[in-house]
Amino acid sequence: MKRMHQAKFKENLAGYLFLLPNLTGYLIFVLLPILFSLYLVFLEWDYMRGFSGIKWVGLDNFRAIAGDPKVVKSLWNNMLFSVLTVPTSMVLGLLLAVVLNQFVYFKNALRTLIFLPYISSLVAVSVIWSIMYNSKSGPINAVLRSFGIRNPPEWLASPDSAMYAIIIMSVWATLGYAMVIYLAGLQGIPKDLYEAAEIDGASPIRKLLQITIPMLTPTSLFLAITLLIGSFQVFGPVAVMTQGGPVDSTMVLSYYIYLLAFRYYKMGYAAALSWFLFALIFIVTIIQWQSQKRWQSYF
């Protein structure tokens, strides 16, 4: 009896000791900041004036969010960015994965080349693209002109096209990731499904639509959620290529939060907006999770 107690005590102790380094760090650098941030949302804090810049304002920060035209603009741009980058990367990634998986020589080499942009530093990639996007004489517009397009878009220089320029680059950077995840998903589809379909004389297109895509539903859901969460947090390309401009045409939530907190030092408002971003991500994830249940019962 006593020995059992001792063993139990030892296991408890071991558990806490193994957890100790991580838990300490978690409490200080994750949990404490989260709780602190939940308190910050009720404050107006001009950080440049130190502790004397603190004022309790209740829910005013959230009221301010609702009436802030920059928030509305950022929200719109975030939507545009997500709606265009996520499905495009997924569709292209799926097509490439299906083709690479079966009909191609040098599969690994090609896969790696297409994957390279994803693993590269977004900052460096943004620097290269912003030079290539140069509206007067950059190589992209030079190519477009040589194809006879007389007035190619001004890309980053114009509010009409700047967001799309960032979107195109982001699709380029993420489609390799979608492809690699889909390639992994394809390995999990049992071969006999295809053999059975072949006996039934199903065409390749039918096999794609009725076996491959339905069987990849979990992969697609994983990709949709991770890409969507990532796309809501897009920061690097905006910070490097446009700083939210021209005239706020590329302002997104994460960059606006950065400006508020670390340029204007409005800590309370920035914290409130960051929780607003969290709420958006949370809602979108829940919706996707729910719709996945429906798909799964459907197939």
Binding site: K10, G15, Y16, F18, L19, P21, N22, L23, G25, Y26, P33, I34, F36, L40, F103, V104, F106, N108, L110, R111, T112, L113, F115, L116, P117, I119, S120, S121, L122, V123, A124, V125, V127, I128, I131, M132, P139, A142, V143, W172, V180, I181, A184, G185, S203, I205, T219, F222, I229, F232, Q233, F235, G236, A239, L253, A261, F262, M267, L277, F278
Partner: protein
């Protein structure tokens, strides 16, 4: 693409409906058609892959030119005269890149090593040890996993300011070591190990540290490699945290150093491109050489994560 599938179907049908050829010829012809198709598709996809890496090729080629040649069209992929001055400026000029490299290596190295150790220890405890409050604590971890980094930026900034950690590498390294996601992943990996394994070790009188370090950890090697690759690329390419927490140029990491070039040399494009090559090339080479590990490592998290 649809067209290609269709042609394949049509050709197959032809091969099966022609009656006068023997079965062996039929199979041979079918094989030939398939090979031909494979060659065509490979060529198409290769074209696409080259299109994907054109920005990199353009970057490398242009970084050896002078500013007057940057926007020459048609593009001369091989510079007429190779200008190495840009690289000399990047590596030995007033903002030398080796400082940024050293900082990135130091920060990434310590963070990755630290987070692998702390995540695997905590993951082991959560998965294999029965202690009081384990499930509550794990639930706490899980509940904070979905909170985006943006929420943490403001409070961490204030916290680090009060702790006098702003503008030091600690502000990047410390939060990097304790990742919820890493802990969660390691817990999942350890959970998949059979329980009898540790029972046997316990009967043999092994202590908890030995069960962890000598028995369990070696078995999770593929998982560790995956986590290593993931955390390495995260921290190596990380931009937002260093941007906020570091002020002095001597402390900058590679991405920050590169944006510093953009701010300072604005339209000196060849210099910016030489700096971009300097920032990207080692990583690109690592990926090309270790492609199997890296690509598959990332694919693995896709399935298990």
């Amino acid at each position: 693409m649809a067209k290609l599938f269709l042609t394949k179907g049509v050709l197959n049908m032809q091969a099966t409906t022609t009656h006068y050829v023997g079965p062996r010829v039929k199979i041979r012809r079918r094989k030939l058609v398939q090979t031909l198709l494979r060659v065509i598709v490979t060529a198409l996809i290769s074209g696409f892959a080259i299109l994907m890496i054109i920005p990199f090729l353009w970057m490398i080629s242009t970084s050896f030119k002078i500013n007057a040649e940057v926007f020459q069209y048609p593009i001369k992929w091989i510079p007429e005269v190779w200008h190495f001055e840009n690289y000399k400026e990047v590596w030995m000029g007033s903002n030398p890149f080796y400082t940024y490299y050293w900082n990135s290596i130091k920060i990434t190295g310590i963070t990755v090593a630290g987070s692998l150790l702390s995540s695997s220890m905590a993951g082991f405890a959560f998965a294999k040890l029965n202690f009081k409050g384990r499930d509550t604590l794990f639930l706490l971890y899980l509940s904070t996993m979905m909170i985006p980094g943006q929420v943490l930026l403001v409070p961490r900034f204030i916290l680090f300011d009060k702790l006098h950690l702003l503008n030091t590498h600690f502000a990047i390294i410390l939060p990097g070591i304790f990742t919820v996601l890493g802990t969660f992943m390691m817990r999942q990996f350890f959970s998949s190990l059979p329980g009898e394994l540790l029972e046997a070790a316990r009967v043999d009188g092994a202590g908890y540290w030995r069960m962890f370090w000598q028995i369990s950890l070696p078995l999770t090697k593929p998982a560790l490699v995956t986590l290593l690759i993931l955390t390495f690329t995260w921290h190596w390419n990380e931009y937002e945290n260093p941007l906020i927490f570091l002020r002095d140029r001597e402390l900058y990491t590679i991405p920050l150093g590169l944006t510093n070039y953009v701010e300072e040399y604005g339209t000196n494009y060849v210099l910016l491109l030489a700096a971009s090559v300097s920032a990207l090339l080692p990583m690109l080479l690592v990926v090309l050489l270790g492609q199997r590990w890296i690509v598959e490592g990332i694919a693995n998290t896709g399935i298990k994560g």
